[in-house]
Amino acid sequence: MIDGFSNTTLSISNLKVAVGPHSVVDGVDIDIRKGEIVALVGESGSGKSLTALSAMGLLSGRVGQSGGEIKLNGQTINPQDEVEMGRLRGTRLSMIFQEPVASLNPLLSVGEQVAESLVVHGRATKAQAMERAVQMLADVGIPEPEKRAKQFAWELSGGMCQRVMIASALIAEPDLLIADEPTTALDVTVQAQILDLMRRLRDKTGTSILIITHDMGVVASIADRVCVMYGGRVVEQAEVHQLFKAPKHPYTKLLLTTIPKLTDAPKQDLYSIKGMVPDIADFPEGCRFRTRCPLADKQCVKTPPLQPRKTFDDGLVACWHSELTETLQ
């Protein structure tokens, strides 16, 4: 069990998630090393949230994991096993969501909710847990934590609630924090503060973070490594600077082109990738991006494998024409 000593916190391999007969996540591989911040990027419907939810075992209804293996610190875990997951959630794996205010129960005090995972897992008595919660609130930069702990979600601002959520997710010192669009509902200044807070906490505790976002600005300011998803597959994966400098997949390249630049001519139309993410019922054969890709040709009917990016990093790309990507404008 060499893997048991490896420094990979979470390893997702060949993950498949299906909604009824359609596969919405189709063979995703992601490794998150200890203390690393990995960003999972993609449009709505690319399967990034489902990937994260299946690692947490929180898929529900008609959505279910149909294949793949998930390892936490080298040990295989079974997300469908409610008993096992109940033990892991909060203590080893935690997750925060995008609606900070709605994510807190309006009838429970903020302190009680921060303390929740300690109480749930019997790590502390209620009084001890509350004490830890106050301390944790101070750690996430909430002024007057004793007072705030007794308040309710609707008495706090959105940014404050997001800090509370982070405190509740990290109080039991999990190995991995999954953050599903944690800053989407916040304004840019608060967004920067929250990202900064997450990075500082990572530096302090060594918790790995998987951050899901569609905002390239968030990726640039927090991530160490990036996975780009399209149509339920990882199309490119690279260290953050390498990815921004030399995107090898046409989708990544076009995604970066959509970011408006200060040097753009005034009143120029904003760039957008033509077409829409296809409906899950009719993804094309082979490369799923080929219907929107300017480089697509006959070869793309075959699914391209994830291959080394042929750059100096250890990145991967899934495209038959990755060497032509640079020529795209």
Partner: protein
């Protein structure tokens, strides 16, 4: 504490209230509850004390040194005393059946709304079946099978009325179970028992309390109805419904026997229903 008092005052005596403030109805119910609790102290004589010489005496008659303030019935029993003891029966049957059916319905409704799947199908279809049969008919049939009596009436009402709560609990649970804070709690490792008890129940209890209040009024009427038909509490136990039933036979020459229990029932049910209405208005943010 002051905040709570203020909220309560605004709930019961809203500044913009049309008509009679709901506080009046709260007071009526409170008085009836007090009368029921203090019955032995308030009643002039025992509810079953007969005075065959003083049968069917109109209100205000003095017989054997005591006055029948509200008259006497066909066995010469003091009507006021029987009304006071009857309040005990009406209120306790209504209260206990509401508590029992409320608990049963809430648990089943929450289970259906949270677990979904076959649990949901079975529970909610049974609810549909129950709701499709006229409730009083169902109650009459069940009493006919189980036999009448104080405890049986409560059981019958609880067993026939739980679907109302199950419906509401189910719908509310569906809504709350999808709230982000339930998802977050799950991601923190909370068990389903904790989620149901700590996150869902407190958030749906408001809607259920409105149903319970409205049901309370209905339960008073059901008990009266069953007793009126002779299927409720049995003689000589005093019940407003049973008194009404007996009074009907004498209504042409002793109007008071049926009138006073009728007034009591009317006041209690009206008050409880109006409180329920105001409560639902107050708890619904759209009408606040």
């Amino acid at each position: 504490m002051m905040k709570l008092l203020k909220t309560l005052r605004e709930a019961f005596f809203p500044k913009s209230a049309k008509g009679i403030p709901v506080g009046v109805f709260v007071a009526i119910v409170a008085v009836l509850v007090l009368v029921a609790i203090l019955a032995p102290l308030l009643a002039p004589v025992g509810p079953n004390t007969q005075n065959l010489m003083g049968r069917l005496k109109p209100p205000g008659t003095v017989a054997r040194g005591t006055m029948f303030i509200l008259g006497s019935d066909e066995l010469g029993r003091d009507l006021l005393s029987r009304l006071i003891y009857g309040a005990r029966v009406s209120l306790s049957v209504a209260f206990l059946s509401v508590v029992l059916s409320g608990c049963l319905g809430t648990v089943l409704g929450m289970a259906a709304g949270y677990k979904r799947g076959w649990v949901e199908t079975i529970i909610m279809r049974v609810v549909d079946i129950f709701l499709s049969i006229p409730a009083i008919l169902l109650a009459i049939i069940t009493v006919a099978v189980l036999g009448p009596g104080f405890i049986n009436v409560i059981l019958v009402l609880a067993l026939t009325r739980w679907p109302r709560y199950a419906r509401v609990a189910y719908g509310q649970t569906l809504a709350v179970a999808n709230m982000p804070y339930v998802r977050l709690s799950k991601a923190m490792g909370a068990s389903w028992i904790r989620i149901l008890g700590l996150h869902i129940l407190p958030n749906i209890i408001a809607a259920l309390s409105v149903v319970a209040t409205l049901e309370f009024g209905l339960m008073v009427l059901f008990e009266a109805g069953l007793s009126f038909l002779g299927l409720g509490v049995q003689p000589p136990m005093a019940s407003w419904g049973a008194m009404l039933s007996v009074g009907r036979n004498y209504v042409s020459n002793a109007w008071w026997i049926a009138t006073f229990p009728g007034i009591c029932l009317f006041l209690l049910v009206l008050s409880v229903n109006l409180i329920g209405d105001r409560l639902s208005e107050y708890l619904n943010p759209k009408s606040r």
